[in-house]
């Protein structure tokens, strides 16, 4: 069945006999696992905006962010059985998205490295600090926060975005990134130190 969600209008969803589509994320996901596709569409409506925001901050551009969000939600839909309820639905979706964004970033880094090599540039110029130097040289004096985030390594960018933009606790971040909370704390500390050094270029 084709649905039209343009302009935010909610279509008349089919009567699945399961009652209204309100309910917690866990209830909706359980219904989706039981075969109620409309429940998963409701989850898309609830989470796509925040997933896109997170994806954009991780990958740095709209097109890739849209791809990452679509791949995340499609992957979640195709592997609904894998969700066992050990974490919240939001954490689960965030975990998938972070992995997809990292994959996109690695793919883009490889393309950028190959491009530099083909034009005679040095592979090292595709590294972390060089990205910011390039941005600073071409941008005006106005602060470009996205450029600063882009200059971070993928691991540092993940913890900064999840903490500063998603407001996740260290425990929640550790669930998403599958690492101990202590590692989250130390990685976040180093990421912030790096950000301060990068932002000094704008002073």
């Amino acid at each position: 069945m084709k649905r039209n969600y343009i302009n935010g209008s909610r279509p008349e969803l089919p009567d699945t006999g399961g009652g209204c589509l309100h309910g917690s994320d866990s209830e909706l996901l359980a219904r989706a696992q039981a075969g109620d596709d409309s429940a998963f569409h409701e989850l898309i409506e609830r989470h796509s905006a925040s997933l896109f925001r997170l994806g954009f901050l991780l990958v740095g551009n709209v097109a890739d962010a849209e791809d990452v969000v679509q791949e995340t939600l499609l992957g979640a839909f195709q592997h609904l059985v894998r969700f066992k309820g050990h974490s919240s639905v939001k954490t689960w979706l965030t975990r998938i998205l972070v992995k997809q964004a990292a994959r996109h970033h690695r793919s883009r880094f490889r393309r950028r490295t190959i491009s530099l090599e083909e034009t005679g540039g040095k592979p090292g110029e595709a590294g972390e600090a060089s990205a910011l130097d390039t941005q600073i040289q071409s941008a005006d004096a106005r602060m470009d926060v996205r450029a600063v985030l882009e200059a971070l390594s993928a691991e540092h960018r993940q913890v900064v975005v999840l903490r500063e933009y998603e407001g996740m606790s260290y425990r929640e971040i550790s669930e998403v990134l599958n690492m101990p909370p202590g590692t989250v704390e130390s990685r976040l500390f180093r990421a912030r130190e790096h950000l301060k050094r990068l932002l000094k270029a704008y002073e």
Binding site: Y5, A49, V62, Q70, M143, E164, L188, F189, L195
Partner: protein, 144 residues
């Protein structure tokens, strides 16, 4: 200081650290730098997901769902075909050759369906009786 700023300590520890920050200029300055960093990061210009992109996501999920139903139907049809084929082969093998079937039939049945009369001495009493009935039905015993 980073973990304190993020409120990751237990309440009592947080209060203790808060009291320390109130007395320590260096820690207070670091706390201010962290707050300034957060304010700066909050200035990032983040676009919204377009309605068209959202629609594409919904349609992609629908397409995947339809393909999954089709694949399930295909698998069930193939399984049913295999079961039917196996049953057909089993039934054919269990039925056996006509000769074997004929050999397994009792004497009276073979006599009843025989095209020609069988020498009486070669048949059991039941078979002879069955053959007499068949002949009587055919008018060979003088009955009408």
């Amino acid at each position: 200081m980073s973990a304190f700023y993020d409120g990751q300590f237990a309440d009592e520890e947080q209060r203790g650290l808060q009291e320390h920050v109130a007395r320590c200029a260096e820690c207070a300055a670091e706390l201010e730098r962290l707050k300034a960093l957060s304010r700066l990061l909050a200035c990032a210009d983040v676009p919204r997901l377009s309605p068209g992109a959202l629609e594409r996501i919904h349609q992609a999920v629908d397409t995947v769902g339809e393909k999954a139903v089709f694949r399930t139907a295909q698998a069930l049809a193939m399984a049913a075909a295999v079961v039917l084929a196996v049953c057909a082969v089993w039934l054919w093998q269990a039925g056996g050759a006509p000769e074997a079937y004929a050999a397994a039939a009792p004497d009276w049945e073979r006599a009843a369906v025989a095209q020609q009369a069988v020498v009486a001495g070669g048949l059991s009493a039941e078979a002879q009786f069955a053959q007499w009935i068949v002949e009587d039905l055919g008018g060979e015993n003088g009955s009408e």
